[in-house]
Amino acid sequence: MLIMNRDDVTAMIKEDWGDSPQSHICNLVFQYLLSRKKAKHITYHRFKVLVGVNYLDEQILEAINYLCGSRVNLLSAKFEFIDGERVFPVEVGDVKEADSSGELVHPETGELVKNYKEKVSIYFEPTDLARRL
């Protein structure tokens, strides 16, 4: 089904998740995105604050995973390497290379970072589709 408008998104979420907690989370995030179309850096923590304390991390993550997927594709996920106060964007290819070698190449110093999984964070931005709706 091609998404033409906001109602299509709401209908898809309902069809796929029914009245589950993930459905409520998806709708809350969707409404948030509609009000923040120019946002470029939304953290997971922001979503947690948005949905409140009544939901588990795994429910929020399932919903965010769904919104990042091809089915509704409202969110795009990005990686960044956090080194103290400094933040560097990281490409998917860099993360895959690190997965193979066990070390991430520091984007600035070129040094090898072993515990990169604790230093590479994921943030989100609305997709072109979310901005158009």
Partner: protein, 214 residues
């Protein structure tokens, strides 16, 4: 577990230990190639198969829509994982399962045929539809799958006979390969008639026999 502050790769991996659908999240974000897509998709389908098999006792009643209902459940669970999955989509005909992923700007497609095992000729019909009607065999749809719903005893024997049946139909061209992830599944490869490229099919049984003796 509870995540505080930024969401790191480590946080996601830990969360995945408690929820198999979350477990695939990080890998789905890293899909760049068709091979990445297929590798993740098969892991997700295997998880879904395990879920459906665990509910086999609810699927025993006679129902002429059973094949479609099981396939729809697979579609629903694939969608929850983020796939653009559909049943009966018109793609050079109406394939049972159409899965698309297009996050990198290219549409990666996987097509599946789903059949309740009644006879090997019935499975053969589905295999033929998959390989000669629905798929183009192009680089972005180089693989497909047979989902075989087995309500009879001894799934391993059914799969072994199905493999022999395929080899009889293609005595020279067909390559068979074991599945390393799940021993009951196997792969077949042959040259796709339309594209002239190799087309690989994963043959996946669902163990749905249920006859407790207690």
């Amino acid at each position: 577990m509870e995540i505080h502050g930024d969401l790191t790769i480590s946080d996601l991996e830990k969360a995945g230990l408690f929820n198999k659908y979350v477990a695939g999240f990080i890998e789905r974000l890293k899909v760049e190639t068709y091979d990445d897509f297929i590798s993740r998709l098969y892991k997700d389908i295997d998880e879904i198969i395990i879920d459906i098999q665990s509910g086999a006792r609810y699927l025993q009643n006679p129902d002429n829509k059973k094949e479609d209902r099981i396939t729809m459940e697979i579609v629903r669970l694939l969608r929850r994982s983020g796939y653009d999955a559909s049943h009966d989509t018109d793609h050079r005909g109406h394939s049972d399962l159409h899965v698309k992923s297009g996050l990198t700007g290219e549409d990666f497609i996987w097509l599946g045929e789903a059949k309740i095992h009644n006879s090997y000729d019935y499975l053969w019909e589905g295999f033929n539809q998959l390989t000669t009607r629905y798929s183009t065999g192009d680089f972005n749809q180089a693989e497909g799958g047979m989902l075989i719903y087995i309500f009879r005893k001894n799934t391993a024997s059914v799969m072994s006979k199905w493999k022999e049946h395929l080899q009889t139909k293609y005595p020279e061209d067909l390559q068979i390969e074991d599945c390393q992830r799940r021993s009951l599944s196997f792969y077949s490869s042959l040259c796709h008639e339309a594209s002239g490229l190799p087309f690989r099919v994963r043959h996946m049984p669902l163990i749905l026999y249920f006859n407790p003796q207690d």
